[in-house]
Symmetry: C2
């Protein structure tokens, strides 16, 4: 328990302590912090006060940086040291911070007084396609019922390189993309706004130390290369349909990808580990894990329709449904020698569950627009201008939560 | 003419002055320079001496950086000012540098004494598919003669997001990637080294100031967003064939991409501008340019087979063969609102010419291994361990060259 009051419904218990980067005032320097209840603990203040006194962090300037990349590069021993130090410092029994009013005032900032920023400088962003339910639904819609999932999917954690520059922080407006569409085989392509704009419910792993070019990461050591997870909305436009053969999605994705401000560490998620689904056919040896782990993270998507105030829940899914684990994803990514760097982002792909109420995008939920959703008295097939989409993710512990807060974005109309 | 002697065959005339980043000594700071004859002019020394005295560069620290990104962000007026300043400073008639022995000694370094580094921090790397001859040849091999080029190709400068982390500087060894292969439809995939390893003869545009998320760049202003060009070898492995449906190339590409150390500016290339091929069907209005420009850059690929000393030329192509111009590529990339940043890399895709001696990769040159090439007494279908591939690119002026130097890499065997 912390000396800072944490409401039982809060996502940010002392068991969680997720990392983010925030700004105090519009013109102040970005600095790393952890969330606790309705507060942010400023890690630059804690470091300056000399309270990170373990061997890994004592002489590090990693919390005096505008992003977490330096801390990520230090690896799991430093991450564990930070977690232990911070849990102790924030505990009800520990006087150092609790009883030092001037330090408390500098270090503990109300969350509603700060602006959250992108917590990492993202060198590369990769998006996987790791949910079997999602792969199957897409296949049923576009490949037909014979063989909905492409045969390579069962052997390879399929992925594509995404666009790093357009990854934005929760709360950033998303401008409806324009591009080429091609509604029927015999028409010419037209230019215009994306007509079917969608969210994709995903999470993403944040890469830690990374690896050198030419030196793959063993799948059984891959967890040490993952700092934590964020919520991610991989917004998608239907301009993708005409452009993506043969080289994959491009402009249908790169107009914006939203992540949550708080990175929840794998250490905080560990009590919520669950067995990953059995893989059949068995993966090739380089993807065979001694222990194959997911996490029981309840995910929920709400939409606030344009002009309304109230959100309607449109889907409830769970991270535990993923077929390919994040450690398999990471090991596969490096097996060709590709180097990962601290702060790289590995998206899971849309996380759909088995039931129709647990599908992870409107494409699936409305079956490509054939079954509109009713939202607070209005109907939706795809997103309309003014709609706001809110993701939340949370693990329920015994009397506490380990949650991700929210990941949201509102659709603005295309430019003329 | 410069007071520094430039051999008529040199790529680095005073009309060129390409930009790179170099290191003097193994432990010295990387710093920007321009190539002139067999020398590198150290721009940090020139800046420190106060010789960049125009309005854009006078108070800038852009040449006191470990890469060119700050300079790139300044845009064309600053680039023109730097070019004018440097051409004057290096001219035979100008005494400031010519007659200052101590400044000359600090500023002018023999090229064979320095190590060249990646000149830019690459935020994102995109690879296009802009050569019609290449698209047609790939289509003839894999789609058949009926309709070799996919219909979208004639409307869209097709591209995919590539991997920025594994872009390396010329001279870096390339380790043969491992991954999954799937030789026949009825077999199970195997794990192993890529069997068909190839080069792809490309060039890449280096992005200047870039654009904000949501604000596309007009095709007629796109040239102001391109600083210059480099040679690029987009190494490719056949592990791509089994992985790339439906999301495009991934591990078959991300094991390494090599660029030349010298960025030749569009200003230096301007005398070699040539009309781009006519586009039929005409492009949509957002891709219709007032002036549609390529450059007459002779490209050549040589291979030094493993264990041999001499290089054999395997293809001669030209940048002027591209169907989609680099300005169309850039405008298309941003039309959905995607933001480009200084230092982003836009690869052209394999630059194949119309004749079989001008194809840009071994896949085409050997027609997928069916017609081996004879190289100095040995045969090649694809690259073997120990082979070194060398690209060169050059524009021939009247008594001078504007060249790119070389872009090379040697294949090392896969790890066990
Ligand atoms: Ca996705
Ligand atoms: Ca390529
Ligand atoms: Mg996206
Ligand atoms: Mg490559
Ligand atoms: Ni990237």
């Amino acid at each position: 328990k912390s000396f800072i009051e944490v409401h039982p419904d809060s996502h940010f218990s002392i068991q969680n302590l997720p990392y983010g980067v925030f700004k105090h005032e519009p013109d102040s320097q970005p600095r790393p912090g952890v969330a606790i209840g309705e507060y942010v603990l400023d890690l630059s203040v804690i470091a300056l006060a000399g309270l990170f006194d373990g061997p890994y962090l004592r002489n590090s300037d990693c919390f005096n940086q505008p992003n977490l990349n330096t801390f990520l590069a230090l690896g799991r021993p430093a991450w564990k040291e930070a977690r232990t130090t911070l849990q102790k410092l924030l505990s009800a029994a520990e006087p150092i911070l609790r009883d030092n009013a001037s330090l408390r005032e500098k270090a503990i900032v109300p969350m509603d007084k700060v602006q959250m920023l992108l917590p990492i400088a993202i060198g590369d962003y990769t998006d996987f396609f790791a949910s079997k339910h999602h792969a199957k639904n897409c296949g049923l819609m576009f490949r037909g019922p014979e063989n909905p999932i492409n045969p390579n999917w069962f052997h390879i954690p399929i992925a594509y390189h995404g666009r790093a520059s357009s990854v934005v922080i929760s709360g950033t407006d998303i401008i409806r993309p324009r591009g080429q569409g091609h509604p029927t085989a015999n028409s010419l392509p037209y230019f215009g706004s994306s007509r079917k704009l969608d969210f994709e419910l995903e999470m993403a792993a944040v890469v830690g130390p990374g690896n050198e070019l030419g030196k793959p990461v063993d799948v059984n050591e891959a967890a040490d290369h993952i700092f934590g997870l964020v919520l991610m909305n991989d917004w998608s436009g239907d301009i993708q349909a005409w452009e993506y053969v043969p080289l994959g999605p491009f402009l249908g994705k790169s107009f914006g990808t939203t992540i949550s401000p708080w990175i929840v560490t794998l250490d905080a998620l560990e009590p919520f580990a669950s067995d990953a689904p059995e893989q059949n056919p068995p993966p090739l040896p380089y993807l065979a894990e001694k222990e194959s782990k997911n996490y029981d993270i309840s995910l929920q998507v709400s939409v606030v329709p344009a002009g309304q105030k109230d959100a309607s829940v449109v889907t409830r899914s769970n991270f535990k449904h993923l077929y390919w684990t994040i450690t398999q994803q990471l090991a596969h990514h490096t097996i060709n020698g590709c180097n990962l760097r601290p702060g790289d982002l590995l998206g899971t792909g849309t996380i759909s569950g088995p039931e129709s109420e647990s599908y992870g995008c409107l494409l699936e939920l409305t079956w490509n627009g054939q079954k509109p959703l009713s939202l607070g008295g209005t109907n939706r097939t795809f997103l309309e201008d003014g709609d706001e989409v809110v993701f939340t993710g949370c693990c329920k512990g015994d009397g506490y939560n380990v949650g991700f807060g929210k990941c949201s974005g509102k659709i603005l109309p295309s430019p003329h």
